[in-house]
């Protein structure tokens, strides 16, 4: 059960990742945080070969924190893939990004994102937000039941 509370953090900025990890760890919210550094890596991890094994062993992430400006494949595309695949569409996805550009917010919600949060510049506020997001999605929120996977014949 070591992967029980896995969080997927998809962000290309090393310093941002470090700050996010700092905040997540000090709140002891997740046993395991898997960091993916661009959109392609995220898609490989989520939809590449071996994904079924992950799913079978219960390695499906419980929460995805997604940045929008990503190299190669952008966050919106990752979100689109996540929400259009039956196996991943129930995973809560929180966009955690620098901007609150209207077009980003509209596209995000249009694709069915669960939450949209602008990273505040003030680190204290950022911490509080990370704690609240983790607490809500991992503890308070009741996730969708895991369905039997048709791959196990």
């Amino acid at each position: 059960m070591s992967n029980d509370n896995e969080i997927l953090l998809i962000d290309d900025d090393e310093a941002d990742v470090e700050l996010a990890l700092h905040a997540l760890r000090e709140n002891k919210l997740a046993n395991h945080i898997h960091v993916l550094r661009d959109g392609e890596e995220a898609l490989d991890y989520l939809f590449g070969p071996g994904r079924d094994e992950q799913a079978a062993s219960g390695q499906t992430p419980k929460l995805i924190l997604l940045d929008l400006k990503l190299p190669k494949v952008d966050g919106i595309e990752v979100l689109r893939r996540l929400k259009s695949d039956a196996a991943t569409k129930f995973i809560p996805v929180v966009i955690l990004t620098s901007s609150k550009e209207e077009r980003d917010m509209v596209r995000g919600y249009d694709l069915g994102v669960n939450s949209y949060i602008q990273k505040p510049v003030d680190f204290d506020q950022f911490r509080k937000i990370v704690m609240q997001v983790g607490l809500y999605w991992l503890v308070i929120n009741q996730p969708a039941p895991i369905r039997a996977k048709p791959v196990l014949i």
């Binding site: 310093a15 941002d16 700050l19 620098s98 901007s99 609150k100 209207e102 680190f123 950022f126």
Partner: protein, 569 residues
């Protein structure tokens, strides 16, 4: 009936002759004179008169042609009396009125109503018949002093009456012809004038392609005189390089008669006498005349047309280019804004984040100076973040449209006041909110205006022990002016023009922190609404910001006059 009469008397022969003669006569005066002579031959008498009259209700007047044989000399005498007036009471007037023939004996010439001839006063016998058509009486035919008898007989009367009806017919036909001719001449004159004075050049060519007629504008346009053109081939007006092709075109038009529209071939050129060429619009049409087929060529100077068309094309091209540039610029600006909002904030967040983590790691070990430096780093990051936020908001304003709806300004202002009250719990501020109208505006943006102006008021009244901040409105020259007033540090009015410029600050940031973007944003919102903003202040005394939300005169037009009067208690 005529044949019967002919058999009865040889006297009819001259009438037939007359009818034929009259049919060929074109001049009415000659006709009438001829008739007076003929009448005396048909019924031998000393005098004859033919009168053509015009009635004007009061009098009968007209022209009379008389002829006679002078009794003494046996010489013929003729008189034309161009204008006589027949008295109503006279015998002649009576005949004209009753339209019946008249026979008299031994009367004075005066009693007839006019003088037959000068010096003729006594008439031994008189026979008069009216010249009447079915419509009206046109005049009279009168014989006097019958030869070889004391009076005129019934047969005389019949003959003269028959002559009179022939004369009437002939005269009326002649009049009709004359009128038709006059009309023809008049309409020809009009057409001539139209042809001659037309703003386009007209050239008429015959079947051989030779010019038959031209108008003044053709002379003017091509620089030839009329005489130089008539008889020449039409090609004289066509540039040499085009002449070979031209007759073919001419043929083509001849083969397909009809009207060719103007402007169908802007590539056409004309050639002036001085060999210069110019663009022309041409319309050809075929005319069939008795003297052969004619081609009418209408030529319009296309130079101005071409120039205008070229000018419009150029304008369009430059406009398209501008639009393209603008689109590119807009696109770049949007990309820029997007990058700024994503990429510039991340480093600030990291500066703040790591400075804070560092401070926490160091804990109490950090000296007071180290702590202060870390704090400075964090403040700088926060300040820059505020600047970025303000700039992005300002940029976004330019791109966004207005969402207009009636908004309760009182509610907007009081919401902002409440927020600010909570933000500064330890300040003593007297908030005064006068009744404000309901105005058609973008409520989110107008709330931002209040938010900026009121937070400025809170900021600049900081040194006051008791701050007074007031929001109200007044109607000035039919305009609703809203104002925000405070008793703060104010500013020197000589800097008033700098107030709304971006990054313009009138205070040191240690005294009053700020980004210098707030009032620029406020001004942009108000301008977007079509309104104005201005300020008045006195240093260390007060500052008042006044603004309107609609251009002058628009408030009534928007139909919000009534709403403006809805005030809140």
């Amino acid at each position: 009936m005529i044949t019967v009469l002919l058999e009865q008397t040889a006297g009819w022969a001259p009438i037939i002759e007359l009818s034929l003669k009259l049919a060929g006569e074109r001049d009415p005066e000659m006709l009438l004179q001829g008739v007076s002579h003929l009448a005396r031959q048909i019924v031998p008498a000393q005098y004859a008169s033919v009168g053509i009259l015009e009635e004007d209700g009061q009098a009968i007047s007209g022209r009379v042609f008389s002829s006679g044989m002078d009794a003494a000399s046996g010489m013929a005498a003729t008189a034309v009396m161009p204008a006589i007036t027949v008295l109503r009471a006279a015998v002649l007037a009576n005949m004209l009125e009753t339209r019946r023939a008249l026979r008299l004996r031994n009367v004075s010439s005066e009693s007839l109503g006019f003088n037959l001839l000068p010096e003729v006063h006594h008439l031994s016998s008189v026979l008069g018949v009216p010249l009447s058509s079915s419509l009206r009486v046109r005049g009279f035919l009168l014989l006097a002093n019958k030869f070889d008898a004391d009076e005129f007989s019934d047969q005389d009367e019949q003959l003269v009456a028959a002559l009179a009806s022939q004369v009437t017919l002939a005269y009326e036909r002649m009049e009709e012809q004359k009128r038709a001719h006059e009309e023809l001449v008049e309409s020809r004159d009009v057409l001539e004038a139209l042809f001659e004075l037309a703003p386009d050049a007209f050239v008429v060519a015959n079947e051989d392609g030779r010019i038959v007629r031209v108008n003044a504008q053709a002379e003017n346009l091509f620089g030839y005189t009329r005489d130089e053109l008539v008889g020449q081939l039409v090609e004289i007006l066509v540039p040499e390089w085009f002449r070979k092709a031209h007759p073919a075109r001419h043929e083509q038009v001849s083969a397909h008669p009809g009207r060719r529209p103007m402007g169908e071939g802007l590539e056409l050129s004309g050639r002036r006498k001085d060999a210069s060429e110019f663009a022309v619009d041409i319309m050809l049409s075929r005319i069939e005349t008795k003297r052969g087929k004619r081609t009418k060529i209408v030529i319009r100077d296309g130079t101005a047309h071409m120039k205008m068309a070229e000018h419009i094309k150029q304008l369009n091209r430059s406009l398209e280019k501008h639009v393209e540039e603008l689109q590119t610029a807009n696109h770049e600006l949007e990309t820029f804004n997007y990058s700024v909002s994503h990429d510039l904030r991340a480093p600030l967040r990291q500066i703040d984040g790591f400075a804070r983590i560092l401070g926490e790691r160091l804990g109490p070990q950090a000296g007071s100076e180290t702590s202060r430096y870390l704090q400075r780093i964090q403040h700088a990051a926060t300040h820059m973040s505020g600047l970025l936020e303000g700039l992005l908001d300002l940029a976004r304003l330019g791109r966004q449209g207005l969402y207009m709806q009636p908004a309760d300004l009182n509610a907007l202002a009081s919401e902002v006041m409440e927020e600010l009250r909570l933000e500064a719990p330890d300040r003593q501020i007297e908030w005064i909110l006068d009744p404000l109208p309901i105005i058609n505006c973008d409520s989110v943006l107008v709330k931002a205006v209040f938010s900026n102006l009121l937070s400025n008021a809170v900021k600049f009244t900081q040194p006051r022990e008791c701050a007074i901040i007031r929001v109200g409105h007044r109607i000035e020259n039919g305009e609703t002016v809203i104002f925000v007033e405070d008793n703060g540090v104010g500013f020197n009015m000589k800097y008033a023009d700098k107030l709304f410029g971006i990054f313009q600050r009138l205070h040191r940031s240690e005294d009053f922190p700020g980004t210098g973007i707030g009032l620029a944003t406020v001004q942009r919102i108000i301008k977007k609404h079509g309104g104005r903003i201005w300020a008045e202040a006195e240093l260390n005394s007060y500052a008042t910001f006044h603004f309107t939300l609609l251009p002058k005169g628009m408030e009534q037009a928007e139909g919000s006059k009534h709403e403006n009067e809805v005030l809140h208690e």
